[in-house]
């Protein structure tokens, strides 16, 4: 059985450092031998605290690491080795086969451009649509993310709509070209609690309806457990746990995961959940 | 914005970029030359026994000017004046700037608004022009120049102090402190000042360089300290007419100015990196 996404021994390190201090070398290794698979239609959660390397993993998969970082290891998508592809080849994949939604909806959108135009960008590039066809696609994408009054929103600037609406727009742009794999990097962290729940539900529905695979990156165990089937725990650039959600509550092996679970439970009981 | 505590923590592990080291080296060099000039220089300034417009030789390391005075000695005294201008103007800018900026931040309302617009308008005016205005009023002298530049630069300091202080005052923990009844003074000392000084120091280093450049400009235009003060700018003014025959007289003071100002800018950049390493690298 071939997985949709297969990451093997992915490592990322800083290219050079000013410091000649030997102990600093360790700190320059940001991802260490990260390996995991994502099957077709599978939903995987990538959990870790800040600095654990989870966002870097997402960037490494689509080949958007900054120049200052070196990447090694294999990234295999739909049977094709993409870690060695040129940028031009990768551009064809990004937004079309693999799409990423980032954390801060406020800054992820160009503040000087109307929102509809930004959603149109990937559609135009990957499907070549123009004019009224393009516009119809944009509106339909905005409808799909449950944005009431899609027409008004398409003609608005990012600062004229709410945070939740912005994140929906970002998701719309990401799924507009019907990618097979959706990676969401802390999509709800910057939002209000009530809005968080709605966005989570939205992502869940979209992923089910379109049979997309999902990699959901977050630091919040409680949030992700509702949405995914399997959980990967990352710590300091390494994957320390790879379990299904069921196994999580019954038999976590790594002490770090146990810590995470414990604090999640504590919080739950404190909130009387 | 980082706190002083974080800054001090980073200080112990600070390796320093090479430009910072160069900056420290240049500025220390000039400082030391200025200090030395207090007690010694190769020749006295009114010593005109040398041959006129000589190139560098064994008796006059950098040559002489039109009246036979030793260029090296003039440069050393010029360093002293540059120090006075730098510290004087920066000090004045600091005092006035902090006072007005803190005043504006602690008393919101019409005081704040008026002061803010005054700062903004003043800042739009280049320092040199403002300084020239004040010199026009006071007449040309070293202290007039220092005062003028200090006042002109204080607008920059005021604006920074005002904006930063307002930001600090708006922080949750300060609001909490206020509700606990902490007095304004204590808030100032305990919260505002510790968080203010890193940014302030960086900007003061830059203002130092601006002050030296502005004074050089004033002196060059003849509006600075009149002779026999040998400000570097003044030296350049004198050297202009004889630049073809004695180019060193026109080159050397310029190099001196560059060393000091560039050094200060490097120090400022290094300090900025120290206090806020999240700043995108600028060097």
């Amino acid at each position: 059985m071939s997985s949709l996404l297969r990451v093997e021994s992915l490592s990322v390190a800083k290219r050079a450092s000013h410091s000649l201090d030997a102990t600093a070398q360790d700190a320059d290794q940001l991802l260490r031998q990260v390996s995991f698979n994502v099957e077709d239609g599978e939903r995987v959660g990538l959990i870790g605290e800040s600095g654990s390397g989870k966002s870097l993993t997402a960037l490494a998969i689509i080949g958007l690491l900054p120049d200052s970082l070196l990447q090694s290891g294999s990234v295999n998508f739909a049977g094709r080795e993409i870690s060695s592809l040129s940028n031009r080849e990768l551009q064809k994949l990004r937004g079309r086969e693999i799409a990423v939604v980032f954390q801060e909806p406020a800054t992820a959108l160009d503040p000087l451009m109307k929102v509809g135009k930004q959603v149109a960008e990937p559609i135009r590039r990957h499907f070549g649509l123009r004019g009224s066809d393009l516009r119809r696609s944009v509106i339909s994408a905005l409808d799909e993310v449950q944005l009431a009054n899609a027409l008004r929103i398409a003609d608005s600037y990012p600062h004229e709509i709410s945070g939740g609406e912005r994140q929906r727009v970002a998701i719309a742009a990401a799924i507009a070209c019907k990618p097979r794999l959706l990676i969401t990097d802390e999509p709800t962290t910057a939002l209000d609690v009530t809005v968080q729940r709605e966005i989570l539900k939205l992502i869940q529905n979209l992923v089910t309806e379109r049979s997309m695979s999902l990699v959901f990156i977050t630091h919040d165990l409680a949030v992700v457990a509702q949405v995914v089937d399997r959980i990967l725990v990352m710590r300091r650039g390494e994957i320390v746990e790879n379990l299904s959600v069921h196994q999580l509550s019954s038999a976590p092996a790594h002490p770090y995961t146990q810590e995470l679970l414990k604090s999640a439970r504590l919080l739950d009981s404190a909130l009387g959940a | 914005m980082s706190t002083a505590k974080a800054a001090r923590a980073r200080l112990s592990t600070f390796h320093g970029s090479p430009t910072f080291a160069i900056g420290i080296f240049f500025t220390s060099f000039i400082f030391i030359v200025a200090l030395v000039s207090l007690i010694w220089s190769p020749y006295k300034l009114d010593d005109t026994t040398g041959n006129r417009l000589e190139g560098p030789n064994a008796t006059h390391l950098l040559g002489t000017d039109t009246l036979g005075r030793d260029l090296l000695s003039q440069l050393m005294v010029g360093a002293r004046i540059a120090m006075k201008v730098g510290f004087g103007a920066t000090g004045i800018a600091l005092i006035i700037g902090c006072f007005l900026g803190l005043l504006a931040a602690f008393f919101p309302g019409w005081i704040d608004d008026t002061l803010a617009s005054i700062f903004d308008t003043l800042i739009a005016f280049p320092t040199l022009l403002l300084a020239m205005l004040i010199i026009a009023a006071e007449g040309a002298s070293l202290w007039a120049a220092i005062l003028a530049i200090g006042i002109a630069a204080s607008a920059i300091v005021s604006r920074i102090v005002r904006i930063l202080t307002k930001r600090i005052l708006a922080q949750q923990y300060v609001v909490a402190a206020k509700t606990c009844g902490t007095s304004r003074w204590e808030i100032l000392r305990g919260h505002v000042l510790p968080n203010l000084w890193p940014t302030l120091i960086v900007n003061l280093a830059i203002i130092y360089g601006v002050a030296v450049l502005t004074e050089a400009g004033l002196s060059y235009l003849g509006l600075g300290a009149p002779p026999p003060s040998y400000s570097w700018g003044r030296l350049l003014r004198e050297a202009q007419s004889t630049v073809l025959t004695a180019p060193l007289g026109a080159i050397a003071p310029g190099i001196a100015i560059i060393l000091l100002v560039l050094g200060m800018n490097f120090v400022a950049d290094g300090l900025r990196e120290l206090f806020d390493p999240t700043q995108r690298g600028n060097s």
Binding site: R88, F102, L112, E160, I161 | G254, I258, L262
Partner: protein, 321 residues
């Protein structure tokens, strides 16, 4: 948007008015009688009184102000104490040199620094970018008149390629000669101004290069070039334009100093001379004109910014959340 425009225009006029008052007061607060400039040392009391009357110093401050304001509104800036020439026309002919000098230098410097700043940001880690950054660091530490001096030494005196000073007698009537005279001054200003502007451009570009919206655009399939030109440029120009206004004012100032180096009869030389001679009408006139120019430049920069950045506009329709 027009309501906002009107409001800002009003603010501009008020600022101008405030500046006029400040300039008027500043010079009235000066120690020393304005009339002194007109007199020799051993003037008789009657002569002094007559001079003061001529200058208007015997009236109350308020009366002086009113006289001055009404003259201003008739575009009568008074006459120079020293030469007796009318101030505004003198400023006019001085501007014929200063304005072209400033504007040409500014445009060249702006173009250079946009290119250099971008390259310095994009290649920040390679030697190329570091060298560019190094040069711009050097350029802001160097006194502008020194650059002029060195250029004169090399290109005017050692090699007689350019004139070392002066401007053609009939001004722009001899356009080739005029431009020739301005060549070295322009180069001087460009060297210094482009250094300072390059630093801004580099910083702005660095911010844009690391921005989230460029990342989003690339994550959805754009090439870097597409993302940069479609999103980056416009976003970068907003802070850049606000800085341009200040930089233009600095260029004007650089021109003032450089005119001294090259003995160009522009506004700068006029101001320096007027200050040295306590020629108050000239000083006042130049300050007024300079203030007016600075305020107008700021206004234009502000307006352009608003056109580009929708966040700065106060829209009448949808509210801002």
């Amino acid at each position: 948007m027009s309501r906002d425009l009107l409001r800002r225009l009003l603010f501009l006029v008020v600022s101008l008015f405030v500046a006029v008052i400040i300039i008027f007061l500043l010079l009235r607060l000066l120690p020393g009688d304005p009339a002194n400039a007109l007199l020799s040392i051993n003037a008789s009391p009657e002569q002094i009184a007559a001079a003061r009357h001529q200058v208007g110093a015997d009236k109350s401050v308020m009366a002086q102000f009113i006289t001055w304001m009404s003259a201003l509104l008739h575009l009568d800036f008074g006459k120079s104490y020293i030469s007796g020439l009318s101030v505004l026309p003198s400023i006019g002919s001085a501007l014929l040199i200063t304005l072209p000098l400033t504007l040409i230098s500014f445009v060249i410097a702006a173009v250079l620094s946009v290119v250099a700043g971008f390259l310095a940001a994009y290649y920040a880690r390679r030697w190329f970018g570091i060298v560019l950054s190094g040069f711009s660091q050097l350029g802001i530490a160097v006194p502008v008149f020194w650059v002029g001096l060195i250029l004169v030494w090399i290109f005017a005196l050692r090699y007689n390629w350019f004139p070392s000073s002066g401007f053609p007698e009939n001004g722009w009537g001899d356009p080739a000669g005029a431009l020739w005279s301005l060549a070295l001054p322009i180069t001087t200003i460009v060297i210094v101004m482009s250094s300072s502007m390059t630093r801004y451009v580099k910083s702005v570009t660095t911010d844009v290069l690391g921005s989230d919206y460029i990342r989003t655009s690339r994550a959805l399939g754009s090439s870097f070039r597409e993302a940069f030109f479609r999103h980056g440029l416009r976003n970068a120009s907003v802070p850049f334009i606000s800085v341009l206004g200040i930089e233009l004012a600095s260029t004007l100032l650089g021109a003032v100093v450089v005119e001294s180096v090259f003995s160009l009869p522009g506004l700068g030389s006029m101001l320096v001379k007027a200050i040295a001679q306590h020629d108050y009408p000239n000083i006042q006139g130049i300050l007024l004109v300079t203030t007016f120019l600075v305020l107008v430049i700021g206004f234009i920069a502000d307006t352009v910014q608003r056109i580009i950045d929708p966040r700065l506009r106060i829209t009448s329709s949808s509210g801002i959340k």
